[in-house]
Structure formats: C-alpha cells, structure tokens
C-alpha cells in the first residue's frame, strides 16, 4: 500500500486512483485476477502457475459453470443409479447412440470420470482458495482500517459542512460516534478511519467451508451406506439381517455388522383412495401398522409407517415404499389332500393395481397315476374387475371392490431345482405342459374369492381362498447425513451473512479552514455499491452534525440553497 500524500492538484492524476485503491484495499479477501504467464522457470514455475490458475476466481467461475452444464445430461438420459429399467428401455429405443453414450458414461453421469473431474477440481480450487483467504482474513481482523484518502469527495458517498467546533473536538466526537455504532476506528492525523462488517467475510468463508463439509459428508455416506428392499405380507415379519432382504445395495466400506438388530411384523395395511371425481383412484393415504422390536429381544411396540414418516431405528430408517395384493390359493391333489396353501404376492403393473404373478407348487403333488410332478399357474389379479363381458383383466380401481383372479394351469417341471435364480413373479413354462380344456386350449379360469377351479381329468382342485395384502419396505442406513445437514445449515447461515452484510469504511476529516472555521468531511466506501451506504453515511453525518452544528452565516462561493426571505 503506497500512500500518495505528496500528490497535489489534478483530479485525474493516476496516483489519485491508486490512493483510492489503497482506501479500498483489503475490503475483501477475493483473490486478485492474475492474467500473467508462468513465473520462474522449469517445472516448479509451471506448477506454481497452474496452482495459481486453479485457485483464481476466473477458473472457479469456469468450473462452476461446467458443473452446471455437466449435470444436465443426467436429467435427459436415464441413469443406472436412478432407474436401471429405464436405462434398458432407452438403450433399446436408441440403439444407434448406445456405444457413444456408453463411452461418455452417459448412463452414470454423476459417477463418471469427467463429472468427478469437474467437481474434484472445483473442490481443490475451493480449498486452495479458502486457506489463503482465511489467513488473510485473520490478518484483517487484527489489522486497522487504512487512513483517509486525500480527496474524500471522490468516494461513492460524501458529505461536508463547516462548524465552529475545533477539529480535535470533531474528530474525538466522530470517533466516539463511530465506535458506538460498532465500527472499528483508527485515528489518523486530522482524520478518523472506521470500518465495519467483518462478518461478511466470515460468512463467506463459513459458506465455502460448509460446502467442503457437505461434500465430505456425502462421500462418507456413499461409502458406508446400505439400502435393502423387502416385501412383507400382512401378518408376516422381517428381521434386519442380510439374508432376509429381497435385494440389497451397499457402499464399498459397508460391513454386515453395521445392520442394527431389529425386527417388525406387518399387522395391518390401510390404503385410501379418491372415490370419485376426475382423480378417482388416486391414492390418498397409506399406513402400515407394525409391531416393532428393537434389538434381538426388545419389547414389542406398536408403530405406524407412512409414506412420509419412516420408522427410525438407531441409524437406520424403514420406509414404506409400495403395496399390493396377495391372493391366498390352495391346491388339493387328486386324493383330496390339501398340498399347498399360501398367499402369493402379485406385482402391480398399473395405477389401479392390476397385478400379475405366478403360483408355483414345487412339492407334494402327484398326479392321478401317482407320478410326482410340479404345478404352476400364471396369475392375473385385479382388485376391481370391469365386469363380465367387458373382457380385459384391467383393474378399474385400486381398492378391493370386485376382486377377480385369473389362472392358467401348467404341470411338469418348474425348473426351480436347476440352481438358476428365478423370478418369483414369472412362470418359466419351458419344461411344463399346459393343462387343456375341452377344446384343447390352455386351461384357464376366472375366480371370485371362495370359488374353485377343477383341473381337467380330476387332476386336482385349486381354490381362491381369500386376499392378503403386502407392503414393500426399504431399509436404509445413510451415515453422514447429520453432518451433511449441519453443513447445509452452516452454508445457508454463512451465505446470508455474506450477502446481507456490507463491509464498509467511513472516514471523517476535520481541518481548520483559512477563516478559522473547521471544515468537516465524511465519506463512505463499500465492497459493492449499495443504497444503504449513503443512507448510513447520512445518519452518521446527521448525528455528528448535532454535536458539531453548521457554522452560521459563512461566506461561501458555492451554491447556497434556500436563503430566501
């Protein structure tokens, strides 16, 4: 900082500008723009240059912009992480683009190399930016506001008047006044300098640090998280061990011991739907009533789980995700013995819960001749049937108003013993034969609850006993979310401080004029031009003016306004 007190008259003198620059210096800790090439020689010079580029505001700006552009493709192309089924569909529909899209990792944008590169560079830049800024800020906290520039009237807000008080009195009063308004003040020769609003910088640093905290929290969460799904029939239960899950995903540092030991049974499932109007059938409320046990042998507690209200168990959350129906089906063999009775969950495929599934009878069946066989049925279930003659097996309403189950029957080998994992909702008929009706067609029938279906040639009887409900739950553990939340709150607080607090400086100068009257000058300078700056200066000037009122009746050459009458 060079002071330019030697400069004399001209307003457009370049050193005047630098005097103003000095007055505004250190008002923020933003890094200076640096357009220069590498300094020094060799690798070190280049590394230093690269580092300076990376931590400059301009590169931060470019990286930020790239980050926003880079996030866009992930919203236009389906993502594996979000919905793998949609990805498969997209690939089928746009086969031409698939190789290119795969090369660009377009199905995994948010974990792709290029996206990671952008945000990692950004965060390195951020750290490289925060560290020096923090030091600088600490320095500013212990520093003093810079002295008054020579010409205060060149600053954005300015006021002046003449008073009969002595310069020393005025300055002493100005200092008290400013200190009383929580300005940091510094007396100079013939002037007082004051500064306020350091919290702005503090807020800005807190905000940027909070961004890093959030990133760390997310990374932590990704590494240790686990997420599993489970379909639970009414009356049945679930215990939180790996083997009980239908499907399970986890982060690379997850270990099965992290699963908290708890269990629950689904006692009841309530669903209500819009009964009429244009949105007939839209779901209004889902509630799963469960009996929950914490720990291996905790006391049973009644709990409710709703769509927006997960059940929280130390670190894990149990979410209600979906629901559906499970027709209860029994099979009687030719000798009249009930060899199978179970509730078979069906998978809904539309909003009115038209569902499909498969009934598989792997054990205990022998045909009329005593030959051991397996039975299989393709099943369609609708909770509200359109009515006889309306043809389709598509449900008209999601609730159980007119439930109908349609079965078609097969016998032979289910193929479940082959060791390959099987989809429980689909029947693999490759090693099965159709039961035939009188016309030689596949034997099938629509059943109402309580109705039976006799298989051809006395092969047995199938009965639609009743209907159970099921609900699917997702059990997630996402460590680090508390930290992420804390980071988010700090970020918002820091932002508010950074954007709402003005960092500004005020100078007061009082010197004795030729005629012995004191000339008071006040000026204000802020980080950005704000309407509040002149306002505040006006208030300060008014307050100071009360103690050092305008000298009456002075001979002025400038505009004298309002001297009428």
């Amino acid at each position: 900082m060079s002071t330019t007190d030697r400069t004399s008259t001209e307003a457009s003198n370049p050193s005047e500008d630098s005097a103003e620059a000095a007055a505004g210096a250190q008002l923020s800790t933003a890094p200076a723009e640096d357009g220069g090439g590498p300094v020094g020689i060799g690798v070190i010079g280049w590394i230093r240059w690269f580092w300076r580029q990376l931590t400059s505001m301009r590169v931060a700006l470019i990286l930020l912009f790239l980050l926003s552009l880079g996030s866009i493709p992930g919203s236009l192309v389906p993502q594996n992480q979000v919905d793998a089924m949609k990805v498969a569909q997209w690939k089928k529909d746009h086969s031409f683009w698939v190789p290119l899209a795969e090369k660009l990792q377009l199905f995994d944008v948010y974990s792709s190399v290029w996206f990671s590169a952008i945000y990692l560079l950004l965060f390195i830049s951020l750290i490289g930016c925060i560290v020096p800024r923090t030091w600088q800020f600490v320095g500013q906290l212990t520093g003093r506001p810079p002295g008054a520039p020579r010409r205060l009237d060149r600053l954005p807000a300015y006021a002046t008047w003449r008073t009969e008080k002595s310069p020393d009195e005025v300055l002493a009063q100005a200092k008290t006044l400013l200190a009383g308004r929580r300005f940091r003040t510094e007396a100079g020769t013939g002037s007082v300098a004051a500064e306020k609003g350091y919290l702005r910088e503090a807020g800005n640093l807190v905000f940027h640090i909070a961004l890093i905290v959030m990133l760390v929290a997310f990374a932590w969460g990704q590494l240790f998280k686990s997420e599993g799904g489970k379909l639970v029939l009414r009356g049945k239960g679930f215990a939180n061990t790996l083997t009980q899950y239908d499907d399970f995903k986890y982060g690379s540092l997850f270990s099965p011991e992290d699963l908290s030991p708890f269990s629950f049974t689904l006692d009841k499932f309530d669903a209500t739907y819009e009964e009429s109007g244009p949105q007939k059938g839209t779901a209004r409320d889902f509630t799963a009533h469960v009996t929950f046990r914490d720990g291996v042998d905790g006391a049973p507690q009644k709990r409710e789980i709703q769509v927006n209200k997960p059940l929280e168990v130390d670190g894990a959350k149990v979410y209600l995700l979906g629901h559906g129906y499970a027709p209860v089906i029994s099979v009687t063999d030719p000798t009249g013995k009930v060899i199978y009775k179970d509730a078979v969950p069906m998978l809904p495929f539309d909003a009115n819960l038209s569902s499909s599934g498969a009934v598989k009878v792997p054990d205990g069946y022998s045909d009329k001749d005593g030959k051991k066989e397996q039975l299989g049925f393709n099943a369609m279930f609708v909770p509200t049937f359109a009515g006889e003659g309306k043809g389709t097996m598509l449900s008209q309403f999601p609730d159980l108003k007119y439930p109908v189950l349609a079965l078609s029957a097969y016998h032979g080998s289910l193929g479940v013993d082959s060791g390959l994992p099987q989809n429980v909702y689909q029947l693999n008929t490759s090693k099965m034969q159709e039961f035939k009706d009188a016309d030689g067609q596949l034997f099938k029938k629509r059943l109402l609850p309580g109705e039976t279906m006799e298989l051809p040639n006395g092969a047995g009887v199938v009965k639609f006993e009743g209907i159970e409900r099921w609900a699917t739950f997702t059990i997630t553990r996402q460590p680090g979310s508390g930290l992420a939340l804390a980071g988010a709150i700090a970020a918002i607080g820091g932002l508010a401080g950074s954007l709402f607090i003005q960092r500004r400086r005020v100078w007061v100068r009082a010197v004795a004029g030729q005629d012995g009257v004191t000339v008071v000058e006040m000026a204000g300078l802020g980080r950005s031009e704000s309407a509040r700056l002149p306002e505040e200066l006006g208030q300060l000037a008014a307050a100071l003016h009360e103690q050092a009122p305008t000298a009456p009746d002075q001979p002025v050459k400038e505009t004298v306004e309002g001297e009428r009458g």
Binding site: L76, Q81, Y110, D153, E227, N308, L321, S481, F500, T550
Partner: protein, 361 residues
C-alpha cells in the same frame, strides 16, 4: 368428508375459478392502461440520457458543495446532505423518467394501471385462498396451482417494492403481460380440478419447500426482467456513447427506462437477496426427499435442474465478484440461471417424468 362439506368445497373451487378469471380481466385492463401510459409518455422529449453521454460533463466532480438552508435571518440548519457518486469505470447516466416520460396524461394512466394491478392482485390472491380452502390444504398440489401462486407472488413482490418507494414502475407493463401469459397457460393447459393430494405430498414440508420455491421463482423472475432490460439499455447507452443514433422507437422506449447501471444493480440485489432462500429451498427439498423416498439426493430430473439452477446462480454471484466478468457477461449468466429455473418448472414437470410427478401434471 360428508357430502354436504364436499358440495361446499366444490362451490368454493368454483368461486376460485371465477375469481381467477376476474383477475385476468382486470389484469387485461391494467395492461391497456400501461400501454396508454407508454403511448402518452412517448410524446415527451427528454433526451437526458443522450445529453449525459454525449454532452459536456457536468461539474459533478467539482469542489464540495455546501448546503445551508435558512429560515428568516437566523440560519436553522438542516442535517448535511450526502452526495453520491458512482465508482470509477461506470457511466454516470441519470435514470430515465419512467414510462410516463414526465407527461401528466402518461402518469395518470400509469397510476390507473397500478391501481388496477393492485385490484387484480387482491382478486387473484382471493382466488388462491379460496382454492386452498376448498381442498383444505396448501394450494400447491399441481402445476395449475403453482402457476396461480407464482404470478400472485410476483405481482405481490412488485407491489411491495412500489410501496417501499423503490424505482420499479418501469416493470409494470412487462410484469402484467407475463402474468396474463402465465394465467392464460394455467387456465387453458394446466387446469386441474381441485382435489386432494397423493400421499407423497402429505407433509408439512410441502408448506415449507414449495412456498419458498415459488417465492424464489417469482422474485428471480423480477430479477431476470431487470437483467433483460439491462442488456437492451446497455446496448443503447453504448451506442449513444460511441456516437451512434439508435432508432426512434428504441430511443423513445430506452430513454424512459432507468440507466443500465441502475437496472444491473437492481437485478443483482434481487438475485443475491434471494439466493440464500433458494439454497434453503433445495436443502428443505432434500430433507423432505429423505423422509418420503429414503434418500436425500437421488439425481431425479427435478433435483438435477434445481442443482443446475443453484450452481448457475452461484456462478453469476461469483461473476459479479470477479473483475472481468461484471456487466453483460454476468447478465448472460443470470439469464441462463433463470432459464434453468423456468425449464425446471415447465420442461421437467411436463417432459421429463421423474419422481416429482403430481396429480394431473
């Protein structure tokens, strides 16, 4: 719900529709009054901008003026006056006189337009409230309801700024035009009969997250219109300063707007003031998603575009803090950011279906 209550509610929903249509009628009148304001205003000859940019520099940088106001012989002294001065590097251009151009007739029509806008605002707000009452929930369950609230909030913000004596009258015509557009789209394409919410929306986070989202959108819209006009006005001033003569129509319109510096500052302040609220909106949304779907952030299209919008506004704020990026470049970033917001509203809701799907769009 008893049948009687249902009927009452249906009536309320119907009343809400009437109110919305009535407000559109009044907004149309306000629109016409604004047009009259601009037309009458065009008859004035101002030329202040041109004078400031091309004429001789006023003695602004002269010695400090001392103001003394006296009554009678004894000088009763007022508080000292603050002289403001723009910092180096910005043009020192006075603000235009506004649409009315200082003409009495223009001003009269301008005032009529504002009164009509206020009336329309009250009617529209009543429409929103009766819609909310008819379903006994927050009136933000579908796009029709969002659009209604969106324009209500935008006009409300404008009226508040007017009441605070901020220089925003220049916005009147643009605002009323777009409000009519928004309501037109809402009533013709987005209309959804009033009804209950799907379970995922049953949460007090609806009140928090959606209300702040709508407020941010409405206010960012006001900021974006300032930015857009800034770009026009800036080209106009640049042309004048370099000795060109802009067309007569451009001159007539541009001259009456505030100066480029004022417009730029206006939109910066609006965007900066509401960026923390937008950040809060996203955080609140993440918390809600954590409750509703079991994950805080899942890169659902809506989430992606909120993030893009957020980063774009952050880029804009950074640009303002960086020497070489102030002015037009920053303005383009601000417009990009707002375009992302709008796309997140119309585009994502209608074209990209993610988890954020609402009953009837």
């Amino acid at each position: 719900m008893t049948p009687l209550a249902a009927e009452v509610n249906e009536n309320l929903a119907q009343i809400s529709n009437y109110l919305v249509y009535s407000s559109m009628a009044v907004y149309t009148l306000a629109f016409l009054a604004h047009i009259a304001e601009w037309i009458f205003g065009s008859r004035s000859k101002v030329g202040r901008t041109a004078a400031a940019l091309t004429g001789t520099k006023a003695a602004a940088a002269g010695a400090p003026a001392v103001q003394v106001r006296g009554k009678g012989g004894t000088a009763v002294l007022d508080k000292p006056k603050v002289v403001t001065r723009s910092t180096n590097g910005t043009r020192d251009v006075p603000d235009g006189p506004g649409a009315a151009g200082g003409t009495v007739n223009g001003d009269l029509y301008g005032r009529i337009a504002i009164s009509l806008t206020t009336l329309a605002f009250v009617i529209e707000a009543a429409g929103v409230v009766s819609r909310a009452t008819s379903v006994q929930r927050a009136p933000w369950g579908n796009m029709y309801e969002f659009s209604l609230t969106f324009s209500t909030v935008a006009v409300g913000a404008y009226l508040i700024l007017l009441a605070l004596k901020k220089n925003v009258r220049w916005m009147g015509l643009i605002l009323v035009t777009t409000v009519l557009l928004d309501l037109g789209i809402a009533t013709t394409w987005l209309y959804t009969a009033s009804d209950q919410l799907v379970p995922a929306l049953h949460s007090y986070w609806l009140w928090i997250h959606v209300s702040t989202a709508i407020i941010c959108g409405a206010v960012f819209y006001i900021g974006a219109s300032g930015t857009l006009l800034y770009l026009f006005r800036d080209s106009y001033e640049t042309k004048l300063a370099s000795g060109g003569t802009p067309g007569r129509f451009a001159t007539s319109v541009m001259e009456r707007l505030p100066s480029a510096a004022t417009l730029d500052k206006f939109s910066y302040r609006i965007n900066a003031a509401f960026f923390p609220l937008w950040t809060f909106t996203i955080v609140a949304g993440a918390i809600w998603a954590g409750d509703a779907w079991g994950r805080y952030w899942g890169w659902d299209p809506k989430e992606v575009w909120s993030f893009v919008t957020w980063v774009a506004y952050a880029t804009y704020l950074h640009a303002r803090a960086t020497a070489g990026w102030k002015g037009r470049k920053a303005a383009y970033l601000a417009l990009f950011a707002f375009a992302c917001w709008i796309w997140n509203y119309y585009g994502v809701n209608i074209l990209l279906n993610g988890k954020h799907s609402y009953a009837g769009v």
